[in-house]
Structure formats: C-alpha cells, structure tokens
C-alpha cells in the first residue's frame, strides 16, 4: 500500500527519478496528448510544425547565402548547415518554453491532483524531440539535393537529441520556478533566448568569427550540440572530442541542477500557482 508521509523529505534524487519512471504510463499519455492536440485536429497536420523552421531557413538562406557560402570549408554545404542549425534550435526553444509553461500554467491540474510536475516538463520536451525527428525528413531531402549523403554516424543523432532533451528539461524546470515567482520573468527570458540564439552558430560559420569572439561562442554549450549534430548528420562540421564531452556533460549537469533545484523550490512555489 502506498503511504504518504509529509515528514519524509523528498530530496533524494534517485527515489524521485524512480517515481517518474513509475509514472511512465502517464508520461506516454501526456506526450500523446501534446502531439494529438498539435497535429491531429489541424488540417495540414504534422507538416504544420515544419512550416516555421522551413520558412525561417528559406529567408535566412536567401539573405546570407552569398555572404557565408564561400566561408564554409570545402565539402560543406550552406543549406543543410543552416537547416540543421534552425531545426536544432527549434528543438531547444520549443522544448524549453513549452516545458516551462506546462509546469507554470499547470494550476488546473497540479493544484487539484497529486502528480509529479516534472512529468509535465518531460512530456513537453519529449514531444518536441518527436517533432524534431519529423523535421529530419526535409533535412535529409535538402542534404541529398545539396549533393551530400548521410554518413555512417547518422544513428548517433539519437544521442544528440537525448542530450538536448535532458538539457532543455533541466533548464525548463528552472524556468518554471522563475515564471511562477516573477510575472515579468517571461519577457526577460525572451531577451535572453534571443541573445543565446545569436551566440550560437546557427546561420554563420564559426570560421567567420574573430579569435576572441570564437572563444566565447565555443564556450556556449549549445554550440557543441550544433557542431556534433552537423558532424553526425551530413559532415557539415567537424566535432572534436571536447565538443562531444561538452554536450554530454552539459546535458547531465543541467538536468541534475534543474531537477534538484526544482525539488527544493516546488514545495515553496506550489501555493502561488
């Protein structure tokens, strides 16, 4: 029989992770809900989610192609470089904002029935990941059109997406706490996200940067995700071992930090929902 004792502290991370694993049935239903609500009932369905990244890519390609095309190393192609950047940043942004929102605006559920709120954040980031995999279809088409072929490293994309899911879940949990505490944190976050976007080599090749700027950009963990993704997908970048390490390390670190901070803060903020 399950026993709830409010005096037992909820901090041990492992037991909480186990609780989340035990709720995987609910997690699956929530993911199905997210995807159903987004696609099934709209006329163009699943393609809707691709409209935004494809259109953004088209505009950026039109504007930047002449400037940056020649700056990529030989063998790399600007269009797949650009689209892979846009798709991965969409995955990050979407997972982060939807994950934070699903917790911060979950008052209708989270203050009525007992559910681990982390499950709501996870369902958003995982459904964004599924979205991303759908986006790989046009990306593959663009790759082939550009005269490239996917490399043998192709299956390693799963690792990139897994790391990104952990990374954005951790950040989403931190963001949810900020959203609940401060009404105006949303607009600040929007500014921060925009800055982060420009500090990530989405549409410019790293080689165009000056030595100092380059060092700063390489410190941004998102850069490592992009580098690794472009490397494993179509060899439009060369990811160093250091970048693999940074990707995996930042994923685990941010997930754990977000999770631990959330576990401590949630009891204090839930009354404000």
């Amino acid at each position: 029989m399950q026993v709830y004792d409010s005096a037992v502290k909820q901090t041990p991370v492992i037991s909480q992770l186990k609780a989340i694993y035990a709720s995987r049935g609910l997690l699956r239903l929530l993911i199905a809900r997210d995807l159903t609500v987004r696609y099934k009932r709209s006329v163009i369905g699943i393609w809707w989610s691709l409209l935004n990244p494809l259109f953004t890519t088209a505009v950026m390609f039109y504007v930047f192609n002449t400037v940056f095309k020649s700056r990529l190393p030989t063998g790399q192609s600007f269009l797949p470089y650009l689209l892979s950047g846009v798709l991965l940043m969409t995955l990050f942004n979407q997972g982060l904002t939807m994950g934070a929102d699903s917790v911060a605006s979950g008052a209708g559920v989270l203050t009525k029935v007992y559910v681990r709120p982390e499950i709501f954040a996870l369902s958003s980031t995982i459904s964004s990941a599924i979205n991303f995999f759908i986006g790989l279809i046009p990306l593959t088409a663009v790759l082939l059109i550009s005269g490239q072929t996917p490399t043998w490293k192709f299956p390693l994309i799963v690792i990139v997406v897994g790391c990104m899911t952990l990374f954005s879940t951790g950040l989403a949990l931190l963001l949810a706490i900020a959203y609940i505490n401060f009404d105006d944190s949303r607009s600040l976050i929007t500014i921060f996200l925009m800055a982060l976007q420009y500090m990530t080599p989405v549409f410019y090749p790293i080689s165009v940067l000056g030595p100092h700027t380059k060092r700063v950009i390489l410190l941004n963990p998102l850069t490592s995700y992009l580098q690794v993704f472009r490397d494993v997908f179509g060899a439009n970048a060369v990811a160093t071992f250091h970048e693999w390490l940074m990707m995996g390390g930042s994923a685990i670190a941010l997930f754990l930090i977000g999770f631990v901070v959330f576990l401590r803060q949630w009891p204090k903020v839930v009354a404000k929902l």
């Binding site: 026993v3 709830y4 049935g25 809900r33 009525k112 029935v113 007992y114 009891p267």
Partner: protein
C-alpha cells in the same frame, strides 16, 4: 481492520509569506530589495490542525469562507506540502475536488477518460479496461469518439464525475457533495457519492450543507481562521458554528 488509521494529521500549519505591498515582478523585487523595503508577513491558512480518520469514518470540516477548509483538503490530497506538522495518508486517495482536472477540449471523451483516470493515480491498463463502463455510466457511450469541445457543459461534468468515482479508494476527499448534470443524473450521482461514502473507506468532507454533515459524519471540525475552534460530534460542532454565524 475498522480501527486502521487512514489519515493522521498532526499539528499541521500552512503559512503563506506575503509581502506587505504585493510584489510579483522581478523588477519590483530588485528595487524593493535595494531599498531594503521588503517586509514579509506570515499568514496562516492552517494553524495547528490535528485529527485522525479511521477506515469507515467520515470527518466533516465546516467553517466560513476562507477558514482554510479547501487548503486542508489540498494538504491531505498531497498537493500542498504543509509548512510544519505532519500528514500521513495510507492507501489510494480519490480527490473529488473540482472534477475534470486536465480535461482537454481537443481530446475525445475516451482519451480524456484515460488521461484523467491516470492523473488520478490509476494505471493505464486499468483505465483501458474501464473506458466503456465509465462512458456507459455517464450515458455518453455514443459520444466517446468525439472531442469533448463538442460536449455540453453538463456532459463534460458527467464524464468527469463518472471517471472520478469509478473506483472506491481508501480515502475519499469531497469538496461539497456534488450532484451534476440534469435531474436524472443528479440523483444518480448523489446516490453514487453516498454509496462510496458508505463503502467503508475513510472520508474527509468539506461542506456548507449542515444537514448532510450532521447526517453523514462521525466527527466534525469547525475551522476558524485556519485553527480548529470546535472538534467533536457533528451535532455540537454544527451548533457551535450556527451560534457564531447568528451573532
């Protein structure tokens, strides 16, 4: 087994820290902190509440609006962690508080039954096997494949009620004895609630219906400003409450 304690609430306090001038933005917080003007005051929504409920017992909570009744339900439902004190709940809880939490208008009736039941802590397998029975009891069998945004509000309420009451829990939390839908369904749902309350589970009932409190509960608590003012038999508690209200 009838003496088995399902709920043990010991000296529970629920404090909200609120700022004298309501501050909810980062900008304001920064300014106020620099000016050293952040003044907090503690406000107790619950202040030293203790009681136990054994299996088969019904404990009622009465009091004015804002006395802390709903907060108490949420603390026992595990939604709000108490600031101090201790809450122990043994077994499965069915919170009948604002039914239909998590209902999504874009999902079909069947999908909402699945999601809502699972949110209430039941397993996916169990819910799958119960969809038809729940839809049937709600009288919505022919509507289960339709998104509930096409339902009337009464139909949504019926679906929520039927899902929430599909299983007899160890502890039932009731915020007013609900009767939903049209006349037929009102009777049916009220009857089912009473049936559940009499099924041998523990019940924590919050109600303004003093007659129902007297009729159905084993003991009652009269809450005032978060603190238990009178605790005892339903008759004496209701009498004390009425005496206060009429003065």
């Amino acid at each position: 087994m009838s003496s088995e304690k399902i709920v043990e609430v010991t000296d529970v306090k629920m404090a909200y820290r609120r700022t004298r001038h309501r501050v909810s933005s980062l900008k304001q917080t920064a300014i106020e902190t620099i000016k050293r003007r952040m003044e907090y005051e503690e406000f107790f929504a619950l202040n030293g509440v203790s009681f136990e409920i054994a299996r088969g017992e019904t404990v009622s909570v009465i009091g004015r609006n804002g006395a802390g009744k709903s907060t108490l339900l949420k603390v026992v439902a595990r939604v709000l962690p108490p600031t101090s004190g201790r809450v122990i709940v043994r077994g499965h809880v069915a919170p009948m508080i604002e039914l239909g939490a998590g209902f999504n208008p874009e999902l079909t009736g069947a999908e909402n039954i699945m999601l809502y039941g699972t949110l209430l802590g039941r397993s996916v397998q169990q819910m799958k096997s119960r969809i038809e029975a729940i839809g049937d009891w709600a009288g919505l069998t022919s509507h289960l494949d339709v998104p509930i945004r096409a339902y009337s509000s009464g139909m949504v309420a019926r679906l929520a009620f039927a899902t929430a009451t599909d299983e007899t829990p160890d502890l039932l939390l009731i915020d007013e004895i609900l009767s939903v839908g049209d006349e037929d369904f009102r009777e049916k749902s009220a009857a089912r609630t009473v049936e559940m309350m009499n099924s041998g589970c523990a019940v924590l009932l919050v109600s303004h219906d003093l007659e129902a409190v007297k009729k159905m509960s084993s003991r009652a608590i009269y809450l005032e400003n978060g603190a238990p003012k009178v605790f005892g038999t339903p008759e004496e508690v209701v009498q004390a409450y009425l005496a206060d209200v009429h003065h």
